[in-house]
Subunit: 345 residues, 4 copies
C-alpha cells in the first residue's frame, strides 16, 4: 500500500504517519518528490485492513498495490479448481450447462423442462423455490414444496439440482435438497450468509452483485473460502448501468479477467444479463467463445405462464438450437497464447 501525502504535508506529519505504521508492524519507504511525498508500506497488507490509513496525519489518499484476496487468488493456487457435483465436473476444461425454470412451478412443468434440457445436453437442473422479488406483493416462490418437486426431477433425470438460498433461516431446508447452492446478486455482500455457507459442505455458485466490481466479487468468494469451502463457482450476471436496451450489462471480458485473477470456475448467466429471450442465446454463445466454464440459463415451454421472468426464458427448442450450436465453438485459448507470448520476439 502507498500513502500519498498532501501537497505541503509537514515533516512532522510524515514522521508521525510513518511511525504509526511501524507501530502496526510494517516497514515504510519514504520517497520525497518535487511536489508530494509518498510513503510505501512493505509487507502483507491484510492486517492493515480496517486501519484508518486515510485518517493518518497529512495523508491525502491511499493507493492499493496488491489485491486483498488470497484463497481465491491464482497467485497462491495456480491450478484451476475443478468442482465435482455428483460426478458432473466444472472448471479446468470441464464445461457445464445449467438450465431450468426461473421459479419452480408445477411438478408437471418442472419435469417436462428437466427432461427437455437433459435431452438437449444440460448437465445440471436449476430452479428457484425461494425467490427474491423487488415487490412484497410479487410471487415469492413455493418454498419447500418447490424443493420437493426439484427432488423428483433429480430422481427422474439424474441431473444435480442448483437452487437459490436467500437467507440464514433457509439453510437447513435448502441444504436438505440442493446439490449446488446459488447465492444471488442481492446477497453477494450478505456477509453473514457467506460466512455460514463457507462452513458447510456443498458447492456454491456466487453471482456478482447488482453493481459490484470484479474485486468485490472475488472478495465475497474469499469470505466463503475463509470458512473452509473450496468449491466456489463465480457467476457473471451483468451489472446495472444507464443503458436500457437490456436488463443488465454483462462485460464478457470479465470472464477472462476472473479466470486470470482466480483459479475458480467462471460461468455466465445469460438470462439475467440481457433479460430478453432473443438475446439470451447470442450472449451465451459469446460467453462460451471467450472461454467461460459454463452457462446458467432459464428454459420454460410456456413463458407467458412462467411464475417469474418469463420474458427471458428460452423455449425448449431455442435451448436445443443453442446446445447444437455450442458444439461449433472453439473457445479462445488463453493458455496457448500465454505460452506463445513467452517466446522471445
Amino acid at each position: 500500500m502507498i500513502l500519498v501525502m498532501n501537497v505541503g504535508a509537514t515533516n512532522e506529519e510524515i514522521q508521525k504517519t510513518a511511525q504509526q505504521i511501524e507501530t502496526w508492524g510494517h516497514t515504510t519507504n519514504i520517497a520525497r518528490g518535487d511536489i508530494q511525498t509518498v510513503i510505501g508500506i512493505i509487507g502483507d497488507k491484510s492486517d492493515l485492513l480496517g486501519k484508518p490509513l486515510a485518517a493518518l496525519p497529512g495523508v491525502m489518499k491511499v493507493l492499493e498495490v496488491s489485491s486483498s484476496y488470497k484463497r481465491v487468488s491464482r497467485q497462491f493456487h495456480p491450478k484451476d479448481t475443478i468442482v465435482d457435483v455428483n460426478g458432473v465436473k466444472l472448471g479446468g476444461g470441464h464445461k457445464c450447462v445449467i438450465a431450468g425454470p426461473c421459479s419452480v412451478d408445477t411438478e408437471e412443468y418442472t419435469l417436462q423442462i428437466a427432461k427437455a434440457v437433459k435431452k438437449a445436453g444440460a448437465t445440471m437442473l436449476r430452479g428457484g423455490a425461494f425467490k427474491p422479488r423487488t415487490s412484497p406483493y410479487a410471487f415469492q416462490g413455493h418454498g419447500e414444496d418447490g424443493l420437493k418437486i426439484l427432488d423428483t426431477a433429480r430422481k427422474e433425470t439424474g441431473l444435480p439440482i442448483v437452487t437459490e438460498l436467500m437467507s440464514l433461516d433457509q439453510v437447513d431446508v435448502v441444504y436438505k435438497y440442493a446439490d449446488v447452492i446459488q447465492i444471488g446478486a442481492r446477497n453477494m455482500q450478505n456477509f453473514n450468509l457467506l460466512k455460514e455457507i463457507g462452513k458447510l459442505g456443498k458447492p456454491v455458485i456466487l453471482k456478482n452483485g447488482i453493481a459490484s466490481k470484479a474485486e468485490e466479487h472475488l472478495m465475497s468468494a474469499e469470505y466463503i473460502m475463509a470458512g473452509g469451502l473450496n468449491d466456489v463457482i463465480l457467476c457473471l450476471r451483468g451489472v446495472r448501468t444507464y443503458e436500457n436496451a437490456f436488463r443488465n450489462c454483462l462485460d464478457v471480458a470479465l470472464v477472462t479477467y476472473l479466470q486470470k485473477e482466480s483459479h475458480l470456475p467462471v460461468i455466465v448467466d445469460s438470462s439475467h444479463s440481457v433479460g430478453k429471450r432473443e438475446y439470451v442465446m447470442p450472449v451465451a454463445y459469446a460467453g462460451m467463445a471467450i472461454g467461460a466454464d459454463g452457462l446458467i440459463l432459464e428454459v420454460h415451454p410456456n413463458p407467458s405462464c412462467a411464475l417469474s421472468d418469463g420474458e427471458q426464458a428460452l423455449l425448449p427448442r431455442d435451448f436445443e438450437y443453442l446446445m447444437e450450436n455450442l458444439k461449433k465453438i472453439t473457445p479462445w485459448n488463453q493458455r496457448e497464447w500465454k505460452e506463445l507470448d513467452k517466446k522471445p520476439l
Copy 2:
C-alpha cells in the same frame, strides 16, 4: 400499465394478449397507432406483479404508469409520518441529528463521544456493534459487548441508540439493546430480513442500496411496512458511480423526491456519501438546506485510532461547528411554494 406491441404484431397476437390480461381480471384499452399498437391495462397493477407481461405474444415492451408501492406512498397517506423514539421526534417538521462512532470501540471512547455529541445538540447516538466489511479479514465489530457499551452510553446521556442489524440471527440481541434499527446499504434488498423487522416493533432506518434507484428504496420500505410497522425512516447515503472524488454520489434532490412520493421521514448520511471528513460538513449543510428531516453522521475524537471509517469521522469540534451553523439555515419551504403554485397566474 401499458403494453407496447411489436411493429407488425398480428391481430391474433393482440387479441391473445388482451384476452390473457382479461383472464387475469383486468380491463384493456387497445389503441392502434400508425406504426404500433398499445394495450392499456386498467386497474390496480399490484396483482399483475410477477406476471410475465413481456412474454405475452407480440409484446415489445412494458411501460409502467404508476408506482408499485402503496403503504409508503403519500398518495394513500398524505400526512407526514412522525416517528417517536422515546420522546425524540423525527419527521413532520421535527429535525433530528444522529451522531456517534462508526464502530463502537472502547467504553471510554464511546462515552466521550456520546457526551460530546449530546452537548453539541445531537438527538440520538449511533454506533455499530456488527459491521459489514468487504474483506473477511477486516474488523467485524464487537457484537453484544459493543451493544452493552451503547447501553451504558444511553444511560449516561439519555440519548436513544441507533445500531445496525445485519442478519436474521442477530435479531434477538440487537432488539434487546437498540432503540432504532439501522438497515445498511448491502441489506436494502435482503427481503427476508425486511419482512422480519416489519413484524417487530421498533423504528427502522433504511439506507438506500449501493446502486439502488429511488423507486427500489421505496419498494424496500414497502416490504417493511407490509409486515405492519409504520415507523420507517428513509436514509440517503449516496450510490456508486464512476466519479472517484468521493466514496459515493449523493443526489441531494432525492430528499425532495422521496418527501414528495412518500410520507416517511428522510435523513441524510453525510459521512458515507462523501467518505472524507472535510466534505461531510458541507454536504450535511446542503442536505438540511434542501429540507431533510435529519442527519446521521460519524464523530470520533481520534480518527486515526477509529476501528473503521476513521477517514470520514468528524472531530467533536467539527461537529460542534456544524451544529452551530445548522441553526443559521432556513430550509427550503416546499410546502409554501406548493401553496403559491396553486394560485392562478
Copy 3:
C-alpha cells in the same frame, strides 16, 4: 407517445392537454384508469420532437412508444447495408478487420505495421493523425504529416485508410487522404460535425459515446444519414461504468441489438473496450462469435515506444495469432434462429 397524467389531474387539465396535442395535428386516445389517466398520441412522433410535452397541464411523465430514428432503422430498410470501400466490403455477411497503430508515428513504424497486418489478413489500415487527448500537454498527433505517411502506406499495401476526424476545421485535409472517416467517442454528439460529414461522400465509422445509450448512438447515425450519406458503420468501444478492471465496459450483446434495430454494419473496437493488450484478443474473439461485422484494433511492434495507448496495442504476432483463430469461429446465426422461431411449436 403516451402522456401519463398526475394522480388527481383535473378534467380541465386532461382536456387542455389533449386539445394542445390536436392543435399540433395529432389524434389522441384518452384512457381513464382507476388511479391515473393516460393520453395516447397517435401518429408519427417526429414532428413532436422538441415539443415540451412534459410541460403540458397535469402531465406527470411522457412514455416513448416507438424509437425516434428512421433512416437507420431496419423497419424502414430491412436489408443489410453493405459498405464498399475501394472494393473492400463490410456488412451483409462481409467481415472486415481494421488494424494499425493508435497514432501514426514514424513512416518506418507505420509501413512495418501496415505490411504486418496486411500479411496477417487485415482488410483496412487504421492510424490517427489528429488525436483527442484528455490533457492539453499530451501528444496531439502529427496532423497532415501523419496523413501523408498513411497515404504512403496505402500505396505500398493497397489497404484503404481509416483515420479520425476531430473537428470541422480538419474536414478538408482529412477528406483529402482518408478512405473512411472515423468519428470518436467524444464527438458522437458533436452534431455540427455529424451534419457536415453527412453531406460529404465518404463512409463513416461512428463510435458510441463515452456514456451513450444504444438509442443515442443510433440517433447520431441518423444525424449523419439525414444529410444524405448511407455508408455509416456503427462501432462499439464500450462505455464508462464503476468497474475498474478495464478501461471501458463493452456489452457485447449490443452487437446483436444494433443489428436488429438497424441495417447498418456493426464493428467492435476491442482495443478501447478493454484498454489492456492481454484482453484485446479474447474480446475481439467474442465480438466476432456473437456476429459483429468486423473489428478495429491497434497493433504496434514496440508498444513501449507507441506515441499513445501503447498499453492496449497488440504485437504483430498477437495479431497473427488472433487472425488465425478467427477462422475457427462460426458466428452465432441470428437469422437462422429467427426462421426457426417462426415455425409453429
Copy 4:
C-alpha cells in the same frame, strides 16, 4: 507517478523499466515489497503524459499521485479568480444568478423574460441561439436571429448575455454578440473548440460532460487556460447514472471539491441537473447553501410553448420566490472552518 510491477516481475524487467524512465529524464525510487515491487517516478509528471508507462516491461498498473492540471489548480494560484463581465462579478464572494429561456424564441417572449428576471434580481441573461439536440428532426435554434434578439434584450435591461457556442464555425457570429460563452456538456471534450476559445478574449462557462469525472472537467478547463484565457467558470449540470427520478444526477459536494482543487468560480445549473420544474428550486437552494458562486437556470412564462426543455423552466413567479428565499441562506463557510481546523486540538 508509481508503477506497480507484476507479481513475479523479473529483475531484468524492473531494471529495463527504470532505465527507460530515466531516459525520459526522471529519477526513480525502487521499493521491493514481499509480493510486488513498485517504482516511484520523481519529478513533474506532465512530460510523461502520453508515454505508454503501462506498456513498459513487467508493469501491472500505473498509479497517479498528483493531478495533471496546473493552471486551474489552486495549488499554483491560491487566490480565488474573480471574473468580471461588464462590471458584473463572479467568484471570490461575488454571487451571480444567470437566468433566461432555454432557447431564444420570439423577441416578445425574450424581452418579457429578460425584464422579469432582471426585476427579480438576476445578474445575467441566458438564452440559446444554437441548440444541441439529440434528434436531427428537433428544433435546432434560431441562429444569428436569436443572437440579435438577445442583443436587444441586453440593450433594454443592461444584463450581460450568456449563450452557447457549439462549433468552430459559429465562433465569429457568437463572439459578435455574447458577453459570456457557454460550452455545453457534449462539448466538454471537444478539444479543438476548447483550444480555440482559450485564445479569444471572452469569459467561458464550461459545463461538465454527460459522464465526466471532476478531474476531467478540470482538465478541460486546463485546455482553455493553456490558450491564455483566465476567465473560466466551472458549471455543474449533473451526470448520467441509472437513477431515473431526474434527468441527471448532481453531486452537490462537487461544488466544494472543485472550489478546493481550483481557484475558478463554480456555478450550478439546477435546470439540467433535475430536468423537472418542481425540483429546480430546491436543488438551486442546496447549491447556494453549500457555497456555489452562482446559478444558471431557465425561466419561461409559458413552458408548454417553450421551444425546448419547457418541462424544466421555472415560471417567472417561481424565480421570484426562489430569489427571495436565496436571501435567507448563509452559505457554508468552508474558509472559516479551515481556519478553525488549524488550531491545535
